[in-house]
């Protein structure tokens, strides 16, 4: 495919003008036209952080993608125009860096000529990458970016499966509210909110603050502090929590900060009626690194939990994952799997590989899903970010982390206040 030439200017200026004057605008139109015909196979591009700081989780997402592609190709591919078309994944390693994620997305669209894009993992990478498919008018389905900031840009081609972190905080607060109404927690309950200084952390703080504001007299936020990622010393922060005599510590942290902060928390002899680290808490590495007794009763809320897998699509996914990988899936693999599956469904619903037709089907999507709540939509008024209830789980002394909220899927009522706290 030839691009219109912008001759007569130096190379650097030409590159700049290309972006500014819209030389690239011809590309998506042409590719749409060619993509509308039914091809021999459907090439779908994706980048994941397979090396670098997010390599571990990037590997988990890859497992989800691989399983979804394997399942789609088992009957011969996705059904388009009355025949089965195989789907192929062109997966590149974005090395956990934003610049690479952006340039590889551009390469996938303009060099490898993929028809659609699946997203990478982590808010920072998705945030950086989402602009590329938007400029090129390529549907971009991602299950790795949760910050609402990504979906406030007015993008039309970006569809997110991770519900916003505000809802994560909201789910934890709802469980706490049930415990408070049952008389297990004081009223008003004094809260310390500690959040990492990222868009993830800001959304968490917003969720807690909004819930507390909506329940005046029930909750009082006494400490509201953020911290830098990978901090070396939380003692000053924990001192502030101690001084405020907080009943509950609600923190939002990534795994390294969770382990470091919890180690200092335990060493300082602290114990609060409720303790949460947002999406972190049930990781095996934390129990290994801190000792099971030091992570007991920690609450966490996640986008999916394998304990949802007792019926329907969830049962199928959990069994298929176990058969392929011989272990339980975590929410990362589930989101990877569902992200790819949703795109396949949209292609089949559109009965075409035309990007605009598939985008329209994604925008109007309302399907059964493995995600909590059982339905998946991409509401336009939420910037096409899926909204569904989080699954709240709590660590128990036997090493399990049963679901404690929402009530319809809970397999334990949960424990509050923390019985290990003296006095």
């Amino acid at each position: 495919m030839r691009k219109r030439r912008c001759g007569g200017v130096p190379l650097v200026m030409a590159a700049f003008l290309l972006a500014a004057t819209g030389c690239k605008q011809s590309t998506p139109e042409k590719s749409q036209a060619s993509a509308a015909a039914v091809p021999e196979k459907i090439l779908i591009g994706a980048t994941l952080p397979l090396t670098g700081s997010e390599a571990r989780i990037g590997g988990f997402y890859k497992e989800g993608y691989d399983l979804a592609f394997e399942e789609a190709n088992k009957p011969g591919g996705v059904l388009v125009g009355g025949k089965r078309i195989p789907v192929a994944l062109q997966l590149l390693d974005d090395t956990s860096t934003q610049a690479t994620a952006v340039s590889l997305a551009d390469r996938l669209i303009n060099v490898d000529k993929v028809s659609f894009l699946l997203g990478t993992y982590s808010t920072a990478l998705v945030q950086a990458q989402a602009g590329v498919p938007e400029q090129n008018r390529v549907p971009y389905v991602n299950g790795g970016g949760a910050a609402t900031e990504i979906f406030r840009q007015g993008y039309k081609y970006n569809f997110g499966l991770l519900a916003p972190v505000e809802l994560l905080a909201d789910a934890i607060m709802r469980w706490i509210d049930v415990q408070q109404k049952a008389g297990k927690l004081p009223k008003p309950a004094v809260i310390a909110v500690l959040w990492e200084n990222t868009s993830h952390g800001k959304d968490f703080r917003k969720g807690v603050s909004q819930f507390a504001a909506a329940h005046p007299g029930d909750y009082k936020i006494a400490v509201d502090e953020s911290f830098e990622l990978n901090a070396k010393d939380f003692s000053a922060l924990l001192n502030a929590v101690k001084a405020a005599k907080a009943d509950m510590v609600l923190a939002d942290a990534h795994l390294p900060d969770y382990i470091t902060m919890q180690r200092q928390y335990v060493t300082a002899g602290m114990c609060n009626k409720v303790l949460s680290y947002g999406a972190r808490g049930s990781e095996k590495q934390a129990a290994d690194g801190l000792g099971q007794k030091n992570v007991n009763y920690v609450l966490s809320a996640v986008w999916w939990n394998y304990q949802l897998g007792s019926k329907g699509l969830n049962k199928h996914f959990v069994e298929a994952f176990r058969a392929k990988y011989n272990r339980q899936p975590e929410w990362y693999q589930a989101l990877g799997y569902e992200t790819a599956r949703v795109l396949f469904v949209a292609i089949e619903q559109a009965n075409s590989v035309d990007r605009e037709a598939v985008r329209a089907k994604l925008a109007a999507m309302d399907i059964e899903s493995i995600l909590p709540g059982g339905r998946l939509t991409f509401p336009a008024d939420k910037g096409q970010q899926a909204h569904y209830p989080f699954v709240v789980q709590q660590n128990m002394p036997d090493g399990s982390s049963p679901i404690v909220y929402p009530a319809d899927v809970a397999n334990s009522p949960g424990v509050a206040p923390n019985p290990d706290c003296k006095g």
Partner: protein
């Protein structure tokens, strides 16, 4: 008052950690005039070595200190003899040494990703979450041990540099390597040993950090940056200066929470660095760094 005392004790223990991180970088910087960008890589390698000894050989991390130090020393010597010594001396080799050592760091980091994956690791011992109460404050046993080791290293390094022939030679080479050659000092030998000792100190710091924090192959970057701030703050060629700079930085960071949001406390050190470079470019206790 009680909170102030708790913050003071936290700052003192944090200073021990910072000083341990910075000694190796300061020594190499002071003698070879090289910013060892692989300092972060060696810290990461030290953490993984300690973890490996603990997980696979069941050796307590503090008992494996000599082995980690010896290994890091050996790696430092190899890097110096194999790579660094071939670079031009002085300002001419500055940019090359930065690029070279950054490259070594990248190789180490990716080797660690290959062998250990990107998983977070942690060294957990029986006493990882044990505390002792001092002046009404619960202090982590691990942090107290790290502080004690930092103090021992300070005394040991100071004695080595001031009371031994080797130390005098190191200081002489740092001042004027050409004159030392005329006086019969084996300058290349001093450089090699200094680079080895600096690397050993970084390895020790990595192991000590590994007993307190989680780590993965990307570990070491923030530690390198903080070490650099301390070395510049303390001044070149001054071991006690490094220790005092670490104490000042820790105090400022910890007490900053009383007037600043917690996420800004980490930036306070860099503001301090800028101020020192403007008003006292030689550092608080050393010689001029620039010019």
């Amino acid at each position: 008052m009680a909170r102030g005392l708790e913050l003071l004790l936290s700052a003192i223990l944090l200073a021990g950690l910072y000083a341990t991180m910075a000694y190796g970088l300061g020594l190499i910087f002071g003698v070879l005039r090289i910013v060892n960008l692989n300092h972060g890589g060696t810290i990461m390698a030290g953490a993984y070595l300690g973890w490996w000894f603990h997980e696979h050989a069941k050796i307590d991390p503090y008992l494996s200190l000599p082995m980690v130090a010896a290994f890091s020393f050996g790696v430092g010597v190899i890097i110096y003899r194999g790579l660094v010594r071939h670079l031009p001396r002085g300002a001419a080799g500055g940019a090359q040494s930065l690029l070279l050592l950054f490259g070594v760091w990248l190789v180490l980091r990716n080797a660690a990703y290959f062998w250990f994956t990107g998983n977070e690791q942690v060294i957990r011992t029986e006493y990882s979450t044990t505390a002792v109460v001092i002046l009404g404050s619960a202090l982590s046993v691990n942090r107290l041990i790290v502080f004690a080791i930092a103090a021992l290293l300070l005394v040991g390094l100071h004695l080595l540099l001031t009371r031994t022939y080797f130390g005098k030679a190191v200081r002489a080479v740092a001042q004027n390597a050409d004159s030392c050659t005329l006086a019969g000092v084996h300058v290349e030998g001093i450089y090699t040993l200094t680079f080895g000792i600096g690397s050993a100190l970084a390895g020790i710091a990595g192991l000590l950090l590994g007993t307190l924090f989680t780590f993965n192959p990307s570990f070491g970057g923030a530690e390198l940056l903080k070490s650099f701030v301390i070395v510049v703050l303390g001044g070149l060629g001054s071991v006690p200066g490094t220790a005092i700079a670490a104490l000042i930085l820790a105090m400022v960071e910890v007490f900053a929470i009383l007037v600043l949001p917690a996420y800004l406390t980490g930036a306070v050190g860099f503001v301090l660095l800028v101020l020192v470079l403007i008003f006292r470019p030689g550092g608080l206790f050393g010689h001029r760094v620039l010019g």
